[in-house]
Symmetry: D2
Subunit: 480 residues, 4 copies
């Protein structure tokens, strides 16, 4: 398996076409794209650390070797639990995305669906997919996933769009491969991965065959353009004389991009679905199932651990950690995150083989959705409480550069001191700012699908007929 | 194992001294005490049904036979999970207490603590306890538990109380046993059980030896008096010409009593702790651990299933089940109950052997507390939503007796009809009234300890030092 | 103006046909109907007390005399404010409905709408209405209001119902009056009022003329039947040897009935709308406007005052009133109720003349809806907190009759004592039970219309175009 | 009164010592300090617009002329209401602070307290204060307020601090004035005002005379240093080629500073309290009273109007504005903000003269606190909902500079289009980002004091004795 250095070295072969803030930038030099490379490198590093080996790695039945869990197909509930634990661990260590998370869940969803297509339609998708997966595992490649289409007019189906490019689709089928066009939005990490696997964003119907498309594409393929998000945090990082002055120094915010496919050629051996509309819904549903447990739930529990830790530090640095209302707020943050953690554990441990006979495991859907809903809503609560404990300072603090400014450093050291020196108070306040005045509230809300999607799933999944029967039985109501 | 009929027959041997509404009543005749007998009988019945056998029963290592799970010592996480499932199942079937629930959790807590006392202090408590347990299992007896003391002045410890009787304690030690005095309050089911096991309500300190007391007492022992709760529901049941007109016809509300010990003699073979103050805290903590998962969490999930089912029926009977806001409210109830269910599953499946080496299993404490907090708060939400969907009718409906009153039945049938006939609408409304205008809100809040107790537990259990270290690491803060 | 005694005396002339619990009952003897008579008597009494005179009475421009504010047409924002204060005051004093509240708001809505019909259609409704109002004022009569129809199939309009009787309507027009049929449900207080004014439950359209109907009907008119609600509280009152053992001894729960009109004749001089469908929507909208401020908001603030007071007493009686979490919960209840109170004040003081030129005043709609939503949701929170502070005892307490039972009174006095004697603790617990385990949660939710109705109103009333313009202006977006 | 241009011109006379991001900056040139100048200029402009004249101005009894309401002493409840409306209006127009808001509330608090000191202690403070106020009014000066001290060790009183400079205090009294030292933190707008009025941050006791200090200080006085907040938004503004690319183009975020007093000389005629510890508590309490209504409540209602408008725009631009769940979320935002608005109206209209006889008016305290609590908590809800409706785009959108980048503009226009063109969607998304991923959550939480302060106020202000008496009366409890 690759070391962090080997990953970074391997990435030098890639020079993707990236735009950020209106200008083209170099993946290896831009301070923002560097955070993504650094985060990936840290994930490679964690996989090498003995303490985390059982979480970060697994033995592949295809290679017989230890592989990154990001490339592992879950074959048991224990695998699912470790997968969720990986999401929490990387969040704790990065304070941002494990940028391979979507890729991992896409791979797991594709495994089952291609298995079914092989069996039911006689396709070669599963064979191809496993062959490609083995290659990824053997080379320990970083794989990102791309799901959300641009969508255009929300009231129309893909094929009805004035400009059909708002959904990624096949524009030409050739003997050796296909040509695809469209864009994926809010995409995490593609420009720093070795390759990206693309799947449809929704269930599809007859007549929408061109959109029923799953494939792998190498980073920087001909026709690929990445247009990065640009936020105040991008600017702050650009201007900072040193990363140490930033809220999340090394790894920054979750960085996403619009990933544009402008007639990109994909050879058939990297195509895992092409036209099988009846499997698209299943593919995205299985992806959602794992992703709500992992990105929707376990990942944010890791963030919550960081935030609770920071809140407790801030309280101690201000000397208020024993005030009953502070303890109450810390407890409330704990309650929320542990409830979400419990949901991810239940999702993993009540998971089951799906499709039956495949050997592939998927988490329980109800509990995965519950995890996402708990932490999506709870994240705003957690931001509120850390904003409370962090104090006005979390948004009104001067730059830590003042600590080195002879004209102001005396003032800042004098007036920002409480139970801890100014340096510590400013540092933890900056870290808290990163959360309670940053991108993570809305990011958490929408990651793994907006809460409305989870609500619809819960309503569909709940066995209302059984509950009605229970109530009827006890109330003495005869069956209808 | 006993059938329901055998249980009821066996209870005829008991004629406890019970007061209710200011008068002495007969256990076997009073309409309210009958609900408790009926609920217990139903639990015996469920244990005989093949569909529920693996939930309701287990094989005892002491008898080698199938025994009620209410008398089983959990020896694995699978056992813990089945125990939580039993709590949900009995709630679904009874709409009230499994009155043996406290007893089951007390037995599990005593197993570990007496094991430790035997090992560490050389006592015989564990030996006695197992012998007694075997007797209970062999005779398939219904055992209730009694925990909460009267408490008197909340600002004083037991030994400082003006009237020390407000905590159950030893008043005399004799060669053949002890004499105890005091009272347990909010006690569920003692008067309809074969016996009750009593443990202290709190951790104890040196000087409080007389209060460090655990023992079993048969129903109706000399000196025992049960003073029942009396609520509007008690009166309604008393006046009802038939139970079918009541909200929960057969099983009613959760009935409790003040259980008074007026110099009750307990032979030594039924005493499992007497003076070992250092073990009292551990005993109540272990009880809380299991009881928050079961009574605090899983039991109320079963209630929620009933309430959601009833809400859906009410919506269908009124013809509004497709309105988006109705679906949203049903979904919200599902979300809450499934989140709590997830917490109980995580509590069970992340449980562990405790004490180490004992072979006895306890659920995870954090997730058990999360389960209780989720559903305690959520129960008021659920009541709100079922009250919404049930409509004003849930509290303003006329008696179903009007359906049989020639003077009014035509009117009621005519005006209470919607998408379903009046009979059905009234029946489900009455069932809903039982929940949203009944005792269960406050009952759920306080059962297994008030939420403040769970909050204190969560704060104590959370590893804040680890979270601080994670935040420091990422923020670039040096260790303090 | 009538004294309480004169009111009770005057009611003796009425012997309405009332059914309760399946039997016909006598208004003046049944323990439940008596609570309504008593509540009304108390309102008459309050009107005579100098301390409350400015709240409970006003000078009528029609009689030139002081009249009950329940019969007064608001002619200023000060009048609206006093009206809301009356709602709070009567709730504080009764712990249940001012059963003339709906009537008062119906009268105010009718005043403006009949004024418009006279002007726009040349009807005599307003003239009749004022003449009748003067008669009511001169005789200081108790007037109840009836609004909510039985509704039948919720997916159909009144005229489409299989059985059109599920909406009150005209079945015959005669030279001297009309004959009406149908039923009003969840009706408060009609059987203890001198008369009831009936209005449509919803806006109406062409073709629904028979349902566009407003009229006054004397209590016990030929063809009128009242079928009372029956709840556990009804039974408890029936069985109680003395009202002092009940949660709200004198005034009980809010008692409602199904009010059946079986071909009731109404002389034309008591008919205030008959067929003018275009005014029905306006009538119910104006009624809702005042009723959400009064019943929806201010009334429940009065209940909240009682509950907060009881919670504080319970905390003091248990000796826990200084615990930070208790203070926090008391504060939370205060916050909710004072927020709702503020909304009612804003609704009143930002009220305006409506219709313009009429001299009649209506509260602000947005703030009235906000008041209702705040306290409807908040009431469940308040029940939760009083259920927390009240302790398990609020639902598990024995009957206070045990205090007089020689066999148990010693035990109860001994074991229910804390910082206050058992009598006080039991009494306040019983009072709390009345709220947190009673009918008021669902009642508050639906009174003055379910929250969904208020939400729809808020959305319709909010000036979204203005808000969009403000955002566009600041964001630099050109107009669409 | 000054025009916007005259204000900007007048400010040229000031060259305060400002540090931002580790460097000294020029008030008139730095892009961030410019936002504050611009916001102030806009407030001057609004005062000239006829539509807003009655909100933005009032007639001074001291000058007999129209003056800015920012310098007006409220003399009626109507004045208080207009004051609150000014807070809403400026928020709607600026999307950030009216930087004269704290000053206005400080002036109103000082009026009453100096009036009392004159009467009770025979001081000249009130005379001086009115003379100075007249000067401010005649010259229409922008006055900021400074309240919050650095505070140092939170467990110690000011005089016990190791470094007493953490609270602003007198270090020397001279014949012509005093010398002060210390720092105010989270201060809004001092560097762009003509002068700042300083008051103590808390109630004071005997022995703390040096801290009982109120005075006016001109911008840029000798010894004054302003150390500005530095956030990602500061950096983004610094880097932006044009303000039009920013979330709040002209007015930015609320900008604050640490305002350092390093031996600043204040002539006696600008000193309004010096040593009268017994009046300090009253001064801060009255300030809190007005400031919670205005900054705590009404200001954020103006922000909410902007956010709701933006959410509605975003929904329309995406074509989802008719989805029931979108309507529900918009409604929820409306409910929250209108509830807070109602509280500010009640606070103003139930205000009263305070001190009695002074002619000065203060809002009602309970409702002001309720306003702040409603919107502080509600603001996170509002951020959540606008984050929901805004979509992932609100945090993952590319820079609008891409629209002008030939390499990417085609892609962005194509893929960001929905029911509105990409430009509009990006613009409103950027505006939403400013709120839901910005500083306002924590800012709103802490502005006008953290919610814990409001809770303590509510608990202290509520008449619990009266509520207890009401409950006792109804429950039949005799007085204690």
């Amino acid at each position: 398996m690759k070391t962090a250095a080997e990953y970074l070295e391997s990435m030098k072969a890639y020079n993707p076409r990236i735009f950020l803030g209106g200008r083209q930038v170099n993946l290896h030099e831009n301070p923002t794209t560097l955070t993504v490379l650094r985060a990936n490198a840290r994930v490679y590093e964690l996989s090498q650390e003995p303490d985390y080996a059982d979480i970060m790695t697994a033995v592949s039945p295809y290679t017989g070797q230890k592989v990154s869990r990001n490339l592992h197909l879950a074959a048991s509930t224990a695998d699912l639990e470790k997968r969720a634990e990986m999401a929490t661990l990387t969040s704790q260590m990065l304070g941002t995305c494990n940028y391979r998370c979507v890729g991992a869940d896409v791979i797991n969803a594709l495994a089952g669906v291609t298995w079914e297509m092989n069996r039911e339609l006689g396709t070669e998708y599963h064979t191809r997919f496993l062959k490609h997966l083995k290659y990824l595992q053997e080379n320990d490649l970083a794989v990102s996933g791309a799901v959300t289409d641009a969508k255009g007019d929300r009231s129309k189906r893909p094929a009805q769009q004035e400009d059909r490019d708002v959904y990624v689709h096949v524009v030409e089928k050739k003997p050796d491969g296909i040509v695809v066009r469209g864009a994926k939005v809010s995409q995490s990490g593609a420009f720093a991965a070795h390759e990206t696997i693309v799947i449809p964003t929704m269930g599809l119907r007859e007549g929408e065959e061109n959109f029923a498309l799953a494939f792998a594409v190498p980073n920087g393929a001909e026709g690929l353009t990445y247009i990065c998000q640009y936020t105040p945090f991008t600017a702050e990082r650009e201007l900072a004389p040193d990363v140490k002055y930033l809220g999340n120094p090394l790894y920054g915010q979750r960085e996403t991009c619009v990933m544009v496919f402008d007639n990109v050629f994909i050879p058939w051996e990297h195509v895992f679905m092409c036209g099988e509309v009846q499997y698209a819904g299943r593919l995205i549903a299985r992806f959602a199932k794992t992703h709500r447990m992992n990105c929707g739930g376990a990942c944010k529990v890791g963030f919550a651990d960081l935030i609770i830790g920071a809140a407790q530090l801030a309280a101690e640095y201000s000397g208020v950690q024993k005030a009953p209302h502070i303890i109450d707020k810390i407890t409330e943050m704990i309650r929320i995150s542990e409830t979400a953690r419990a949901c991810t554990i239940a999702a993993a441990l009540k998971g089951r083989e799906e499709p039956a006979g495949s050997g592939f495991f998927q988490p329980d859907d109800i509990f995965g959705n519950a995890a996402k809903l708990t932490i999506a809503d709870g994240f705003w609560e957690i931001m509120k409480w850390v904003g409370d404990i962090g104090g006005g300072m979390a948004v009104t603090m001067p730059s830590e550069l003042e600590l080195e400014n002879p004209a102001t450093s005396g003032y800042v050291r004098k007036f920002m001191k409480a139970s801890a020196p100014a340096e510590k108070r400013l540092r933890v306040a900056k870290f808290i700012q990163n959360w309670c005045a940053g991108l993570h509230g809305a990011g958490t809300w929408h990651g793994a699908g907006s809460p409305m999607a989870q609500k619809m799933a819960l309503y569909a999944l709940a066995d209302l007929e059984k509950k009605k029967a229970l109530a009827r039985n006890l109330a003495g109501l005869k069956d209808d």
